[in-house]
């Protein structure tokens, strides 16, 4: 577990040092990101060899202490956030001069990494609340880096986030009052199917849905994510909304009494369908390119909801694998999308989708990154998105849910529509005159890296599935 | 003993009307002052009635804050004349 500890403490200490000596910020950022990636890889190997690891902080017994647990899903998520942090930091380092990125970006993004890693590791309801709160505060602070125009969305984000935390905390307080424990493995199987548990679970779920921007409660997300600087949007969309999702999955798979599972599955299913179809249509209709990508996050989260609903109602291991594959593929693809769109926006100085006409000639690399990441979002082979969708289709076939198969098909078409809306415009050879600017190559390559990573996921499908299956057995 | 606390509480409630009615900022700041000193009194009575000496510390803290906060507020609210 000292590896896991390092994963949390290194970015935390790095952030503190950055605040003390702002001059060292960039070097510290890169060093911490590299070190975390290496540690996360080592941890994944360790977990694969020796099974899941546990730590009771302070060495007290489980009733008193906070439990950390690194199973294979956690190890994968730790690696994912470390890798994404590294990639986004690289991009931010490349563009910080041009984009006038605020100096506070470095410590804040490092703290974001630390709080995410702490969240993945924690198995304690109250500690998870603290991590959520931390995540929300960092995210809001990061959104405000855009200056005055971001204040309003950031404030909305803050208020929604606080309200959501409060709902979650109330739910946890009810559970604590009734069962007298906060440790998830200790509570497992203890909950009775009475109205107290129901109220607590409803509060917890509402709070987490609000934080994760699940469909009917997503209203704060598009404005906040679109207002932030490009590296921040990439981190927020790729990682921050996944934190509450992780807790939601933990709560419903380990805590909830069996009698509630069916109702919850139906509720999640309705939300998933709404997200996949309606948020997809919203992405299709919005005139701004960054808002399009932000709405696409809401829509893509629908797949995760669908996978969770299916997990709860069918108890097939395929759906668990599909859920985490979606999370990883979406994180990488969305980071690439935001970085490439941000790069185009910064270089070309345009905000609307319609103005991207002919962008494939002026900024071919960035457009290529967007197209590859978009392909993964749609689910075109070979990509991580395709892998996730394929696993899910297999599961649906196994469970004989032909109606949902159809829905998945329609959702794919919707996402294809909004991705192709951008791509087709960009490949339109409308203006033959070359514009008078020279796009920088390095940031475009760096924006391409996550897209290549999501591509590479398809080639590592076997080991990935093996890791996720290990968790289930 | 608790009836005494209730009576002081009700007298605070009476004073609260000034916050709403005003008419000047001073009247409203006065209500804060009233809440400070009456709050200290209630805290002292509670400490006796519940026999919890720890509440005396709370009263002490309230008293110190009642001393410090008006000075801060007035300074913050001052305007260039």
């Amino acid at each position: 577990m000292s590896l896991a500890l390092g994963l949390v403490i290194i970015p935390l200490l790095a952030a503190l040092l950055m605040l003390l000596w702002p001059r060292l910020a960039r070097g510290l950022q890169l060093a911490a990101a590299l070190l975390c990636t290496i540690l996360a890889t080592m941890l994944l190997q360790l977990v694969q060899q020796e099974g899941s690891q546990q730590l009771f902080i302070g060495g007290w017994n489980p009733l008193l202490a906070i439990r950390w647990q690194a199973d294979s899903v956690t190890a994968l998520l730790l690696l994912l956030s470390a890798v994404l942090h590294l990639l986004v930091s690289g991009y931010a380092l490349a563009v910080q001069q041009r984009d006038k990125l605020a100096a506070a970006f470095w410590p804040l993004s490092s703290l974001l990494l630390a709080s995410l890693q702490a969240l993945w590791l924690s198995r304690d309801l109250f500690n998870l609340y603290v991590c959520l709160e931390l995540l929300g505060m960092v995210a809001v602070a990061l959104v405000t880096l855009s200056g005055d125009k971001a204040m309003r969305p950031a404030l909305h984000y803050l208020l929604f986030s606080l309200f959501a935390s409060l709902c979650y905390l109330l739910g946890v307080a009810l559970l604590y009052g009734a069962y007298g424990a906060l440790d998830l493995p200790l509570l497992q199987g203890q909950l009775q199917a009475n109205s107290l548990t129901a109220a607590a679970l409803v509060l917890i779920t509402l709070g987490l849905m609000l934080k994760a921007a699940w469909w009917p409660l997503h209203l704060w997300l598009p404005a906040a994510h679109a207002a932030a600087p490009a590296p921040v949007s990439a981190l927020l969309s790729a990682l921050v909304v996944k934190g509450p999702l992780f807790i939601l999955v933990l709560v419903w798979t380990t805590l909830a009494p069996a009698a509630f599972l069916n109702v919850a599955a139906y509720a999640f299913l309705v939300c998933a369908l709404g997200a996949l179809l309606l948020a997809g249509v919203a992405a299709l209709r919005t005139p701004y390119s960054k808002t399009l990508v932000a709405y696409s996050t809401v829509a893509q989260l629908g797949y995760a909801m669908l996978a969770l609903a299916l997990m709860l109602s069918f108890n097939l291991p395929v759906f668990t694998a599909a859920l985490w594959l979606f999370v990883m593929a979406h994180a990488l693809a969305k980071a690439a999308c935001f970085l490439s769109i941000g790069e185009m926006q910064q270089t070309l100085g345009v905000k609307k989708v319609a103005q991207l006409k002919g962008a494939s000639q002026t900024m071919p690399l960035a457009m290529f990154a967007f197209a590859v990441a978009g392909g993964s979002l749609i689910g075109l082979p070979p990509s991580g998105g395709f892998l996730a969708k394929w696993v899910m289709l297999l599961g649906l076939w196994q469970a004989q849910q032909y109606f949902l198969l159809l829905v998945l098909l329609v959702a794919t078409l919707v996402s294809a529509a909004y991705i192709f809306r951008v791509v087709v415009l960009a490949f339109d050879r409308a203006e033959p005159t070359a514009p008078d600017f020279s796009p920088q190559l390095l940031p475009q390559w760096l924006a391409l890296l996550p897209a290549l990573a999501v591509w590479a996921m398809a080639f590592f499908s076997m080991p990935l599935l093996a890791i996720l299956q290990q968790e289930l057995s | 003993m608790m009836y005494l606390a209730v009576a002081i509480l009700l007298s605070m409630l009476l004073g609260m009307w000034r916050v709403i009615k005003g008419p000047t900022l001073l009247d409203r700041l006065l209500t804060i002052q009233l809440f400070g000193s009456a709050g200290v009194a209630i805290c002292l009575i509670l400490a006796k009635a519940l026999s919890m000496p720890a509440l005396l510390d709370v009263a002490l803290l309230l008293a110190v804050l009642a001393a410090a906060i008006p000075a801060a507020l007035v300074q913050r609210l001052r305007r260039q004349i």
Partner: protein, 303 residues
């Protein structure tokens, strides 16, 4: 009987204050009512025999929040009337949650699960302190406390992005000497609360908030002009709580016998906790002060 009457009146007053604060059309009234609400909440915690919470609520709710709200208020344009939300949807949502809470609160067992409090009392002698709240906060669940310190720091970092400059005016000589007279008392009381924390209600957070209120008063009277985020020593003070916490944790990881994160050896636990709490108090005080006072760029020395 008297106790019941007191509870009823207190609950009514708290609800009344909350309602009028929310529905007040004038922001200044709302802030005043909110400060009064803070005093009442402190009394409510005192009545519920939770002096730790009463101390925290008194320091934060009745003290600093008011200064913070007024700082925000003086930046507002004149005669600003807030619109009272008339939208039905949030009200329905809140009503639903309240109903669910009321419905489920009846089912919470009256006497809480005895296992946990028994566990706490068994482990208390090894924790290094005699007050269970402090033992939970700084030993059993110290990781939560560390992260909470980080949340406070982040609040400051976020607020810094939004801050615009505010003019500070020189105080009258009366308020200046009053704040100077008050400051040794506040420092003394801070130390008292911190020291008491090991055995009785009190601790880093309450002490830090109290110290912060003293610093705020001095700062608003144009004293302590060095107190700004630009000053590296101030930054060090604001980060000291976290730094000491993490470094102590690493130290215990490397040199203690069992090599566990955030495990204090029983023999030194009391000293370690007091050390961490002292630095945490300093950090909380500086952070809260910077949060309330901000970074005034312009100062005027008129009387």
């Amino acid at each position: 009987m008297g106790l019941l009457l007191f509870d009823l009146v207190l609950a009514t007053v708290v609800l009344l204050l909350a309602g009028t604060a929310i529905f007040s059309r004038n922001l200044t009234h709302a802030v005043m009512l909110f400060m009064a609400f803070g005093v009442m909440m402190a009394l409510a915690w005192a009545r519920l025999a939770a002096p730790d919470l009463a101390l925290a609520e008194a320091a934060i709710g009745a003290g600093l929040t008011g200064a913070l709200c007024f700082t925000a208020l003086v930046r507002q344009p004149a005669a600003l009337d807030s619109k009272v939300a008339t939208s039905l949807l949030p009200i329905c949502f809140v009503a639903l949650i309240t109903a669910a809470l009321l419905f489920s609160v009846w089912q919470i067992p009256v006497s809480p699960n005895p296992a946990l409090s028994h566990e706490v009392s068994v482990a208390l002698p090894q924790s290094g302190v005699a007050h269970p709240v402090t033992a939970v906060l700084l030993n059993f669940r110290s990781w939560d406390t560390l992260l909470e310190l980080l949340v406070l720091l982040l609040a400051l970092l976020g607020a810094q992005q939004a801050q615009s400059s505010l003019t500070l005016y020189a105080g009258w000589s009366l308020s200046l000497s009053w704040s100077r007279l008050l400051s040794p008392l506040i420092i003394l009381l801070t130390g008292y609360l911190l020291w008491r924390g090991a055995a009785a209600p009190g601790g880093a957070f309450q002490a830090g908030a109290l110290l912060a209120s003293g610093l705020v008063v001095l700062r608003l009277n144009q004293q302590l002009t060095w107190l700004s985020w630009q000053n590296p020593w101030v930054r060090l003070a604001a980060l000291s709580g976290l730094l000491v916490f993490v470094l102590t944790g690493l130290f215990s990881l490397l040199w203690s016998s069992s090599r566990l994160w955030l495990e204090w050896p029983t023999a030194y636990a009391g000293a370690v906790i007091l050390g961490i709490e002292s630095f945490a108090t300093l950090a909380i005080a500086v952070t809260l002060t910077l949060l309330v006072v901000g970074e005034p760029t312009e100062e005027r020395a008129d009387a």
